[in-house]
């Protein structure tokens, strides 16, 4: 199983790879299987016609050459969709390149093309939202872009030879350029970034942390049961971040015992899905299935996240996010449409635009441009359409200080500090590099050099390796163990009252009289080393701009082919490179490390770009106001319980352990 293009380029050393074999074909049952007949009855065989369809032909009927061709039964082709992939335990990963084509940039183009044909068939702004959806009606195309994707593109633009390094565009400028591209060239009605959705996700995340914190402190050490994913399985501390779909997928397949700890708060992508399909849709008089929502993400696994059944509406047969493309795929789109992202667009330097004069994409509420002539002046596209609802400014590129992966941990720390009756001092401690750090909040004693009682301990943990250790640690601290197979049995012995492990622990406790270390309260978990700026869907590193074309696609190194013909892009995957035999040997390590350094250096640059998103105070202020308004709009003004319930439905989700029984079924030693 090959990785898809972009994925091979980052530091594969620490990614989760697909497993040896997809088990789906093993599980596939043939519904057309004929009744068992007596032994010796006619055998059947499978034939494949020119179109590739499979037919089952009985040999008996084939042998009778009486002119009539044997009745050939067309067989169903086994198909694997993203949902199968989620439900399957055959792979731990998610980045199956075959499946990714279901949510590709070509899929977006095909949709937009078809959709354009339907434009005008149905009134774009329906005044009666109750009207049943008409099939093949025009859908409002909306696209939402993750800030990490903007940072990746900004870094690529900065590294391109046609950009002067001193004044390369900020992610905000990149956002404006992409907006112009998406509106003018692709025909999207609205172009958003996902930071406001993240703003809401962070509020929800904090609220959930408070709930768990309260439950944990009131109910004593309320250890989560190894939950089944049913309703109230979400409990206990530490709360583990939920925004990384790679981590969620892995936990569901390999560490069900962690599921109760994983935050139920939706990721920014899925909050954005709710906002676009439900809140904006309502304001526009559009049903969820009358909107086509595309997101641009830093991560292939976001495609799987969008495909989860939790984010599918049975009523409207539509997903909150219809299609996810990666940063790399967006770049490909621009290249295919000959859009030069290095060129500025008018007005891109404006920090904020007045709501009414912003481009349609920017202020879409009541201002859908679809009925307007298709001549867009991107800078001052004043919509003269009559507006039934007051225009609302949708905040653009909010900044959340902390980490470039969403600042989940920092949002909680800031909240705790802000709401604590006593001052809390923050101390950061590196456990292993920048990808594994601990954050302690302690009561300020007033005396320097003296640390008060630690009231909160959080960690930021990125990359598969560190994730393993956090899972082990949380399991140990909270006394939960995996329940799968031998692991459980071995663990049972190891963890039971007797046994070496228990004795060793006792001995350690007695011997050292160790100060009981505070267990984690919160962990910001991300599967990628370096976090989301280094996501698998990001652009390839552009390290040597000297000979590179503006498009950051350096020619791939010659593939190393091994004896069985396995091609591996060693250099690209950031691992070893075989030196030509002529090279003086001392260079081996250096070159290897250069390749590795390259990808790390690139991640550092993307991180740097990420933090060049300007802080615009008014946007952040508007965001807080709008958040409350959205809660009101979506949750109504019913009683508290009702409101809370609706809010949960809109902003939280659930997880399910994937049973792991099929492994090894078809294995021959």
């Amino acid at each position: 199983m090959a990785f898809s293009g972009a994925l091979t380029l980052t530091d594969l050393n620490d990614f989760i790879t697909p497993s040896q074999a997809c088990i789906k074909p093993v599980e596939q049952l043939n519904p057309n299987k004929p009744e068992e007949k007596d032994p010796g009855a006619a055998a059947t065989e499978i034939q494949i016609d020119r179109s590739g369809a499979y037919y089952e032909v009985t040999q008996e009927s084939k042998s009778i050459t009486n002119g009539t061709p044997a009745p050939a039964k067309k067989l169903e082709q086994a198909q694997i969709n993203l949902n199968d992939c989620l439900a399957c335990s055959g792979c731990i990963t998610s980045a199956e390149s075959v499946l990714i084509t279901l949510q590709s940039h070509t899929e977006v183009l095909t949709f937009l093309e078809e959709n354009e044909k339907n434009r005008g068939r149905i009134p774009v702004i329906s005044s009666t939202p109750d009207v049943a959806p008409v099939a093949e009606s025009y859908k409002v195309p909306v696209i939402s872009i993750a800030p990490q994707s903007l940072a990746s593109l900004a870094a690529a633009v900065a590294a391109s030879p046609s950009t002067s390094t001193s004044e390369h565009p900020t992610p905000l400028q990149i956002m404006r350029r992409i907006r112009a591209f998406c509106v003018e060239v692709l025909g999207f009605e609205c172009v958003f970034d996902t930071t406001f959705a993240r703003h809401i996700a962070l509020q929800e995340h904090i609220a959930e942390f408070e709930e768990r914190w309260r439950a944990a402190t009131e109910g004593g050490s309320d250890v989560a049961s190894t939950g089944t994913g049913a309703g109230d399985s979400a409990k206990g501390l530490p709360m583990l971040a939920s925004a990384c779909p790679g981590w969620i997928c892995y936990a569901e397949k390999a560490h069900a015992e962690m599921l109760p700890f994983i935050s139920r708060t939706k990721s920014p992508q899925q909050v954005m899905g709710t906002l676009v399909k439900n809140w904006m849709g309502a304001r526009w008089g559009k049903l969820p299935n009358e909107i086509y929502h595309v997101t641009v993400m830093m991560c292939y696994d976001k495609k799987l996240e969008a495909s989860r059944t939790d984010f599918y509406s049975d009523i409207y047969s539509t997903r909150d996010v219809d299609c996810v493309i990666t940063t790399g795929e967006l770049e490909l789109l621009m290249k295919e449409k000959s859009w030069d992202i290095t060129q500025p667009v008018p007005g891109e330097l404006d920090l904020i635009e007045p709501p009414l004069t912003s481009r349609g994409a920017f202020d879409p509420f009541g201002n859908l441009k679809s009925t307007a002539p298709r001549t867009i002046s991107t800078s001052t596209d004043v919509k003269s359409l009559k507006t039934e609802v007051a225009p609302i400014h949708f905040p653009e590129l909010l900044t959340h200080p902390g980490t470039s992966s969403g600042s989940y941990l920092h949002a909680i720390i800031a909240h705790l500090q802000a709401t604590s009756p006593v001052p809390l001092a923050l101390r950061v401690q590196t456990v292993r590099g920048a990808d594994y750090e601990e954050f302690m909040l302690s009561k300020d004693t007033g005396t320097s050099g003296e640390e008060g009682e630690v009231v909160f301990k959080g960690a930021k943990c990125y990359g598969f390796r560190n994730l393993q250790n956090v899972v082990r640690r949380v399991g140990r601290e909270r006394g939960v163990r995996t329940t799968s197979g031998a692991a459980g049995r071995l663990g049972g012995r190891a963890g039971a009252g007797g046994g070496v492990a228990a004795r060793l622990r006792r001995r350690a406790a007695e011997g050292k009289e160790e100060k009981k270390e505070r267990a984690y309260d919160y962990v910001e978990v991300m599967a990628c080393p370096g976090g989301c700026v280094n996501g698998g869907g990001q652009l390839k590193p552009v390290i040597a701009p000297a000979d590179a074309s503006p498009a950051p696609t350096p020619p791939p190194p010659p593939p190393v082919v091994d004896e069985e013909g396995y091609k591996r892009d060693w250099e690209g995957s950031g691992v070893a490179m075989t030196l030509p035999p002529t090279t003086n040997g001392t260079g081996v390590v250096d070159v290897t490390q250069n390749a590795r350094w390259g990808s790390k250096e690139w991640t550092r640059r993307v991180e740097e770009e990420y933090w060049r998103i300007p802080f615009i105070e008014v946007e952040n202020r508007l965001a807080d106001g709008l958040t409350g308004r959205i809660y009101d709009d979506l949750c109504g003004f019913g009683d508290e319980i009702e409101r809370a319930e609706t809010r949960r439905r809109y902003f939280r989700t659930e997880y399910r352990a994937v049973e792991n029984e099929v492994i090894g079924l078809a294995v021959v030693w």
Binding site: N13, S19, R465, A486, L490, R493, V500
Partner: protein, 359 residues
């Protein structure tokens, strides 16, 4: 010059007991103990006297739900690691037996002190580093994991290496440096080191075998690496120089009629007069055990060449070591005074012990 002595492989003990095929054996480095593991999910321990009389002393019903594929003793000889097809690594320690934590071979029950989860599918091999501070494991899931051994049977994951494109069959550590080697169904051998400022990474891929590489063994001085393959050969790779991390294939040994499943390289019993590099034993699907003696390349010009192959001589071999059955593993005893002892594990479920000596 006197003609080189001739050697024989003579049987010392047959240790039956496993109810299914025996996969692997491991000699305790500090105590007179030999462990074997099997598809029957158990580990059997045998003690031996200075006169090499072997007795079965204990059986660990491991709790692994599938075959125990491989074993590794920690440097101290107090901890045993098991790699199982159930995808887990077990770490076992012996309960003290009332009496002084002792040298005794008896001691208490072997208990699971820790387990390492993470592999997605069958674990194929496990190995402790020479200093005992690191543990490596590999699996059909194509990954190699490196764990740091902490006190109190605790482990921390240091790296997950995903460089192989297929099932990883074997991991071994360099005898003196922190260099890890892995062998795979993708026909390659990969070598890894730790980048102090970063993570473990693969610095070299050794290609040459034309089929699965089943087994690896470093020479005792660490300058050579032997590999046994499904292509029926044993290859010997040489480090170009002590400063460099480049390895070249310098020798291809034929002779086995079927897959070579296992190789083991030990100091052997040095002959006088030459710079011995030790003895290499190999075995496999043909049921034969072959033993080669290696020594430094002779001659001025050869000695000066960084890729000169070592002198080598097949000193002994035996066919049908386990009757008609495949032999899955061979291992030299590492303990002083017993370096002429060789153990083998076969599909007949038996562990056999051999002495290689002058005829």
């Amino acid at each position: 010059m006197a003609p080189p002595p001739s050697y024989t492989i003579s049987p010392l003990a047959v240790l039956p007991g496993h109810t299914e095929r025996a996969w692997h054996i491991a000699w305790n480095p500090t105590r007179p103990l030999l462990a074997s593991c099997s598809a029957d999910k158990t580990v059997r321990m045998y003690a031996y006297t200075p006169a090499c009389k072997f007795t079965h002393v204990s059986t660990i019903a491991t709790g692994h739900t599938k075959a125990v594929r491989a074993l590794a003793w920690a440097l101290s000889g107090r901890t045993l690691a098991t790699a199982s097809f159930d995808s887990n690594i077990g770490v076992w320690e012996q309960e003290p037996n009332g009496e002084a934590d002792g040298e005794g071979t008896e001691g208490g029950e072997w208990e699971c002190a820790s387990q390492l989860e993470g592999h997605e599918t069958e674990c194929k091999s496990v190995a402790y580093s020479s200093t005992g501070t690191l543990l490596a494991s590999c699996s059909r899931d194509k990954t190699v994991w490196i764990w740091e051994v902490h006190p109190d049977a605790d482990f921390e994951c240091m790296g997950v290496l995903m460089d192989h494109s297929q099932d990883v069959k074997c991991v071994v550590w360099h005898p003196t440096e922190e260099i890890l080697a892995s062998a795979s169904y993708d026909d390659t051998i990969k070598l890894y080191i730790d980048d102090p400022s970063d993570d473990w990474f693969c610095f070299a891929t050794l290609t040459g075998h034309t089929s699965t590489v089943w087994s690896l063994a470093f020479s005792p001085d660490g300058r050579y690496l032997a590999s046994g393959s499904d292509d029926r050969t044993v290859r010997v790779w040489k480090r170009v120089s002590a400063q460099e991390l480049r390895w070249e294939c310098v020798l291809v040994l034929d002779g086995h009629e079927r897959s070579v499943y296992s190789v083991s390289w030990s100091v052997g019993v040095a002959e006088e007069g030459n710079k011995s590099l030790g003895w290499l034993a190999s075995t496999g699907g043909d049921g034969a055990i072959r033993v080669w003696a290696f020594s430094e390349p002779e001659g001025e010009e050869m000695a000066g060449s960084s890729i000169a192959p070592p002198e080598h001589r097949l000193i002994a071999s035996i066919g049908s070591a386990h009757g008609v059955y495949d032999v899955n593993a061979v291992a030299w005893c590492p303990r002083d005074g017993h370096t002429d002892l060789l153990a083998s594990a076969g599909d007949d479920g038996a562990t056999r012990v051999w002495r290689v000596g002058v005829a």
